[in-house]
Every structure is written in C-alpha cells, then in structure tokens.
Amino acid sequence: MMLGILGGRVYDPRSGKDGEVGDIWVKDGRVVAAEDVDREAAQTIDAAGLVVMPGGVDVHAHIAGGEVNAGRKMRPEDHRGHERARAGNVRAGAGGTVPSTYLTGYLYSELGYTTAMQASAAPLVARHTHEELEDVPNIDKGAFIVMGNNHFIMKCIADRQPEKARDYVAWLLGASRGYAIKVVNPGGVENWKWGKNVAELDDEVIGYGVTPRQIVQTLATIADDLGLPHSVHIHGINLGRHTSARTTVETIAALDGHRAHLCHLQFLSYGAGRDHVHKSEAAAVAAAVNASRGVTVDVGQLVFGNATTMTCDGPLQHGLHRATGNKWINDDVEGESGGGIVPIEYKPGNPIHGTMWLTGMELFLLIDDPWRVFLSTDHPNAGPFTSYPQVIKLLMDRDYRREMFESLSPRARREALLPELDREYSLAEIAVITRAGPARALGLERKGHLGVGADGDIAVYEERADKEAMFARPRYVYKGGALVARDGVVLADVSGHTFSVAPEYDAGIEAELREYFKKAYTVSFDNYSVRDGSGPPTEIVACG
C-alpha cells in the first residue's frame, strides 16, 4: 500500500524542515524515499497549501488502566452529553474528561495524534492496563510503571543494594510490559498508608528509613544504567503546595546530571503568595530547567472547564477531596502504589485556578528550548486532551493569551509575569512540543518525524489564523499510512501496538522474588507477570 502526500508545507523539526514544500511517501506503513515508490500505483493526496506534520505524540496522559477506569465508573455525569454513536466499524462510546476507550482513540485521531503514553500503571494491575489499552484504537502506546513507593526497591535502598534494585527494576519492567520508570510522590504515597505524607526531599519514609531524594536518585541512576529509551519520569513531592517550586528545583539538583522527565510541572511550580493563594514560581523552575542537562518536562497546562483529577498521589487526592468536598476514590495498592480520583471544575474567576493557569503559561514561555518542554494537560487532571488545540492557540497568539489572562481573578493576576512575556510559538516550535520533542525524549525512533524509516503517522492541517480551529480539525490523519480521520472526524478503527522494554537482569533474582512474593503479595509470583499473548502486540524497544 503506497501513499503520497504531495506538495504540502512540511514541518519536520528532526529533519530540519521548517515549512518547506515537499512530498512525503509512505509504503507498507513506513515513510520511504520517493525513488522507492511506484507512483502509478500510489494513492496521492494534493497537499498544496496545507501543513504536514508527523502525528502527535502525547508524552503523558491517563487513558487506560485501573485508576482511569475507576474515574470513568465514578462519573456517569461526565459521559452524558458526550456520546458517540457507532458508525460502521467505528465503535460507540461516551465521555467528556474520561472518554471510554474506543472514543479515546478516535478523539486522538481527530486531533492528529497517533501515539500516547499511559502515564502510570501499578505493576500489580498492569495486566488491566494492557487489556484496556488493547481497546484503545488508532494510537500506539506504552505504559509507565510506578516504582517510587515500591517496597522491594525501598528495602534495597535501605540495605544499600543498588545492584539488586537495578536487577529488580529490569525484571519488573519486563514482567509488567512497561516502557519506563515512573515515580509519583516518592515516599509520600507509602506514608499516606499511615495517614501522613512527605514534605522535604530528606523526610523519612515510614518503616523504611529511606528518603524521597534517595528514591529519585536510585531510580534515575537505574534508568541511565539500564540505558532505557526514556528517562525516569517524575511526579515530584509537594504537588499543589506552595513549597513545590522549591522542592522541584531541589529535585533537579538532586538528579546530579542524570536524565529525567518532570511531568505536569505546572502543578509543581508554586510559591507562597498572599491571602492563601499560591503564586507562580515558574521563573525559578524554568531557570533550573534551562540550566540543567538532560531534563525534559511536560507542562500539564490547566484548561478552564471540567476535569477529573486522577493520580497515584494518594495524599494529594485526599487533600483535593477535603478542599473541594467533591466525591473521592482512594486506592491503596499493596507493596507498590496508591492513588485517588476527585472530579473538579476549573474556573477563571477562582484565584487559585487562575494562578495555576498562568503558571503553566509562564513555564511554556520561560523555558527556552522547545525540545525540552512538551505540551500536555496531564489529561484529565488539568483538562482533557481535546483541549490541546486551545493550548496551542494560547502559545501562538499572545492577544488571545492576554484576553484569557484578563478574565482571571485579580488576585491571580497581581504578581504574574505573564503580561511581560510576549513570546509566541511558531508552527515549527509547536511541531517540536507536540511531536518531535516528546518522541525524542521517549526514545521512540520512528515517531515524531517524517524522515525515511519513520512510521507513516501523519497529520495534515489547513493553516488558519485561528490556531485552535486549525489544530482541532485536521484535514487528513494517517496511522501507519492508513487514513483514520478526515476533516476532524474519525473514519476508521485500526489497532495500535504497545511499546515496551525488556532490559537484561541477573536471573538469580527470580528465586529471591518467588520467596518475597509469598509474604509481600496476595497473588502468586507466577501469576504476576503479564504473559505473552495478552494485550496488544508489543514491540520491544532496545535499551542501551
């Protein structure tokens, strides 16, 4: 099967193309050189005057797994009014901030996104994540495995056994068919099982005597030692608190040159403001990011409207429940993790929400290198991913941004830097922060670019002055060379596959784990691993 997208303005940052007119040829699902294609036999699209980009790559979203599904179950009110009828092979679905799985895949197609990473999965329930991901069509995907409150790892740290920790992590990634190491409020989630939390990098985890600093350093080192394609992915301590910016900067320092990706950084960039309203400390955080080596971030931009907060950060979610009075799910997962879910509505008139909104904007505008700051809304925590076009417009159009800024409560606006920040993102930079940058940080070689060998994941947009309208309605979207959406409407259901890693480890650890499982878990060691044959076809990405 051959496809030619002809004469479009190609934005392929990795190949250095910044809107130059050219053709993209796809054969058997991959981008190929023009000379490898039989033009007579190829189907061609006239893309003259249109913008051609690689398919979008979502570096961090909560789309499948136990926590996401609990959010769906809890929120029938989120689904009503957001239904989608079946059409041919395109399945029915429903959901606004937590769409059902088929609808999730289709909504991504309708934005021109073709890859998305499930932000967290506790290994004990990874089987669920993969089974659910199998029912998310039209995108390729992967899952980040939470380890920052893992008992075995904390014990290794306490016993000063970094090699054992490394072997365990390598085993765990293979067993859970994971893609990367995820850390969420290291130590804090374990402490929440005692009704407590952590507040400083050197606080102690109850029962282990290790610290968040040690957990982060251990896992960052392991990710580098194992040569994992993606760095350690960190949701830091103090999310939502006025101390977060300080401890974010301290966390960056603690990484000591190791690679790391700091997720939804907007939520972790606050300082103490006046009258119980935090203020943005995006400047300090951005400065630390700019000065660092090997740190990438996604912003987790807040979008006004409905959202569903769902994270593995148990104490955070309890705090949100207390602050909002909204219904609350908590789930403590033995030996590994925790988390919770609370619905929320973000309003421009609410000074706290306003501060959160401008913190995210300031991060985008103050972090210099677009290859290190990626677009996300921590879907659905700060807003649904269907709002990405709105965020793009805010970045590209300072008048629109100013208008939204003016609609915020005065208490949010008073110390904001944002009015002084005139920067507007270019189309090329948008292509970086939504495609090329995340793909590179994730180590997905065939994603985020349109060079020869790339997957035929392509989004073609009509250039419009209103950038939100432009990115909300791609003219054509291709997944592996197959047309999946046209004029912003999905028209095909295709399967995606899962990326995972299987780093080497000393197999001797399995005997120890077999014994460990008898005391530490309530499932058999042999039943814990996600077996071959379950979940979508997986592609193992090499380490090293």
Partner: protein, 422 residues
C-alpha cells in the same frame, strides 16, 4: 498419566484464590488442593463430556447454531445480553461488541448484587485498597451485611480475619473484628464484637456512626436495636486504629434503602480518614463480576444497565437492568452468558425468558439452558478456558486452562455470532 498444574486461580468467587494445585488426567479432574468447598465443586463437578449445541433441544452443528442465534438477534427489536460474571474479560469484551453491533441492552449480575454499590460509588466515591493491604496493615475489620464464612470461604484465612502480614504477624490476635448483621452467622461467631441491628435500620445506624465520628450526640439511647454506647465504642476504635477496613455485602445492597445504605457507609469511611486510615471493599460475589464492571465501564463508560439501542451507550439502572427489562417484558430476545437468571431472578422475571427466544452460552446445565432456543455448551472459564478475571479488589488474575475438552470459549462463540450479524 496425570498432570499437576500449579498456581491455578479458582474462578468461583471474588477471592479468585490463585494458589490452587489441580491434578488432572486427560479431561478428568482428580484432585484440587487448597480450594474451599465451593471451589472444589467448580473443578470437580465440571462435566467435560463432549456436547453439541442444541436448537430447541435438538443437537446440531456449531455453524447451524451460530446462524440460528444470529437470526434470532437480527429479528429482535429489543435484545438483552445478560450474565457475564462467570466468563473471562476477553469474552465480556466480545459481549459488548455484540451489544454495540445489534443495539442491545447489556447488563451483568452486578445489577442483582453490587449494582447499588456502583450507584453509591457514583454518588460519593469509594476509599478502597487491595486485599494485601488488609492482610498487612489492618488492625480493625468491620464486616457489614456480609457473611464471608458462607460466601467467601478463604477470605478470612487469606486476607482478613486470621491472615498474617507485615504489620500483623500474630494474625487474629493483631486485629479487632466487628460483624454487623441482622442475625448471628458463622462470621459473627468469629468476631470480637457482634452488633445485631434490626432489619431495615442499617441506614440509621450508619448515619448515627457518622454523627458520633463528628463528636455529636444522638438524641436516643439505642439506634436500630443497638445501644448507642456500643456504637460509641466502635467509633472510638475506628478513629484510633492504624488501618481500618470495612467489608460490605448484600445486607446493605439488598436492603430497602439499596444504594443509600452503601453511600452512607462509603461516606462514613471517607470521613473517618480525617482521623485514621480507613478503606472499604465490597465483597464481590461471582468470580469475574468485577471484570464485568471493568469491561462495561471501559468500553461504554457505564458499569452495568447499558443500552446501545440508540447507537450510543446509555446508562439506565431501573430501565436497562435485566430484572426490570424482563419483568416489564421489554426484552424480545436474550443472550445469557455464563449465568442462570432462570434460577436466580424473581420468578416473574425468569418466566419472561421462557416467552422470548433465548440464546444461552454455558458450560453446564442450568434452569435457563433447559429451555434455551439455542444452547452453546462452552468451555468453563478458569477450568477449560484461559482468560483474565478481576478480583474483588480489582486486581486482575490470569486464569488457567487446566483441562482441554476442545469446546469453544464464550469469546469464540460471541465472535462468530458477531461475524454473522455484521
């Protein structure tokens, strides 16, 4: 030559105990180690003899049965798909695909079990945990309106009452156990404290507990037949425990206040977290009813009582729940998967299944299979078919195909029906 299969998960109840060892010779199961008496039956009473599908009691080939089933569904205006809780999630996903394709109502046994629990969770949320947290941390257990001694026979030794864990090395001695019920049971006899409540007063007792947690004084000395002094003791213990866990069951979901009872308990548990860590776990009955909730939710947005009649999912407890669909004669055809509403529904609802064409997928004889229009004898999940099931605490457990009769799975039959109706 017998084979020994280890780490087999018992698919009977929501415990999904996965430490069984099964000895089999050919398709005969000789011995099952560690299963409780209910689980023994699942394996030992499975009849592996070859069976053919039936149309109106007449033996036919598989293709003919599939065609007959597809014909029934194509002609139906208001088909109902029901059951699901004793089949693997892979089959449940196919059931939803079929419902989507033909515009059916799909419901699981949740609706007559923990449906009200789901409604409560939708209203107020649910602070919960996995069973290992109970074993390792819980020093206070409250069993409300459930009787694990009768329904989940290994729950006490594996997870709760007597289980030994990291912070509970002395097992039973490290815990204080309450049972709240309307009558003494095998479970209440094992408790430290039994609160016998008057039938139909759980809501009042729960709301009184909430008042007491907030330091308020009730205006009576007894509530629901329980002295307030005893409720105060319970509250004291709940507010000062290390990690408390409540388990709830049909005593609350089947009570006259249905989901309001459950919501009151869930709210109490949430409020207790101001003082002590507390969680609640619903005692899910069937082996994979939790899976049915999960699958229906991720594919449609709603956990049970889903209608695809308009082409998109609609949620309607009381409308699209199976008992209501049948009692009101709103269904004109039914697909019953791994379940026996003929036995377990009120008779007037079960009677409607005899009036309408009924397609049954089940591994053994049941009331509903005895009058099926089309009967598919499928492989029993967890015995004769592998797959995935979800434990009561949402942990997914792989099921083992211990013997191989060659029967198709529920998943395979549903797939074939979907192919023909499409």
């Amino acid at each position: 030559m017998s084979t020994l299969v280890e780490n087999v998960a018992c698919p009977f109840c929501g415990c999904l105990c996965d430490d069984l060892t099964v000895e089999a010779e050919g398709t005969e199961i000789l011995k099952v180690r560690l299963a409780c008496s209910s689980g023994q039956g699942i394996f030992k009473d499975y009849d592996p003899s070859p069976r053919r599908p039936l149309i109106e009691g007449r033996e036919v080939e598989w293709d003919e049965a599939v065609a007959a089933a597809a014909k029934i569904l194509a002609a139906a205006d208001s088909p109902l798909i029901y059951g699901l809780s004793s089949s693997a999630s892979e089959a449940q996903r196919k059931a939803v695909a079929l419902a989507d394709r033909i515009g059916a109502v799909i419901d699981s046994t949740s609706s007559v079990c923990h449906g009200p629990t789901g409604l409560a969770m939708q209203a107020v949320g649910e602070p919960t945990c996995t069973l290992g947290e109970v074993r390792d941390r819980a020093d206070l257990l409250v069993f409300w309106g459930c009787n694990p001694d009768a329904s989940h026979l290994r729950h006490f030794p594996r997870f709760s009452l007597t289980a030994k864990g990291a912070l509970t090395p002395n097992g039973r001695a490290d815990r204080t156990v309450y049972v709240v019920d309307v009558r003494p049971t095998g479970s209440s006899k094992k408790a430290d404290h039994f609160l016998q409540v008057d039938f139909g007063t759980d809501f009042e007792v729960l709301t009184t507990l909430r008042l007491l947690v907030k330091g308020m004084e009730p205006s009576t000395d007894t509530v629901g037949g329980v002295p307030v002094a005893r409720l105060k003791e319970l509250v004291e213990r709940m507010k000062s425990c290390r990690y408390g866990v409540a388990f709830m069951g049909m005593g609350l979901t089947m009570g006259s206040a249905r989901q309001l009872n459950v919501a009151e308990l869930f709210t109490l548990v949430a409020e207790l977290n101001e003082f002590a860590r507390f969680s609640v776990i619903p005692m899910r009955g069937h082996g994979n009813v939790t899976g049915a909730d999960q699958v229906l939710t991720w594919t449609s947005g709603y956990p049970f009582a889903v209608s695809f009649a308009r082409g998109y999912p609609q949620f309607g407890p009381g409308e699209f729940t199976a008992v209501d669909m049948l009692a009101r004669r709103a269904a004109d055809a039914a697909v019953i998967i791994a379940s026996d509403p003929g036995a377990h529904f009120p008779a007037a609802a079960a009677a409607h299944l005899r009036r309408i064409p009924t397609i049954v997928l089940d591994h053994g004889p049941s009331v509903v299979s005895s009058h099926a229009s089309v009967l598919f004898p499928t492989a029993a999940y967890g015995v004769d078919a592998a797959g995935t099931a979800y434990r009561m605490d949402n942990v997914p457990i792989p099921l083992t195909k211990v013997i191989s009769t060659g029967r198709p799975t529920d998943e395979e039959i549903l797939d074939r029906i979907i192919e023909v109706v499409s």
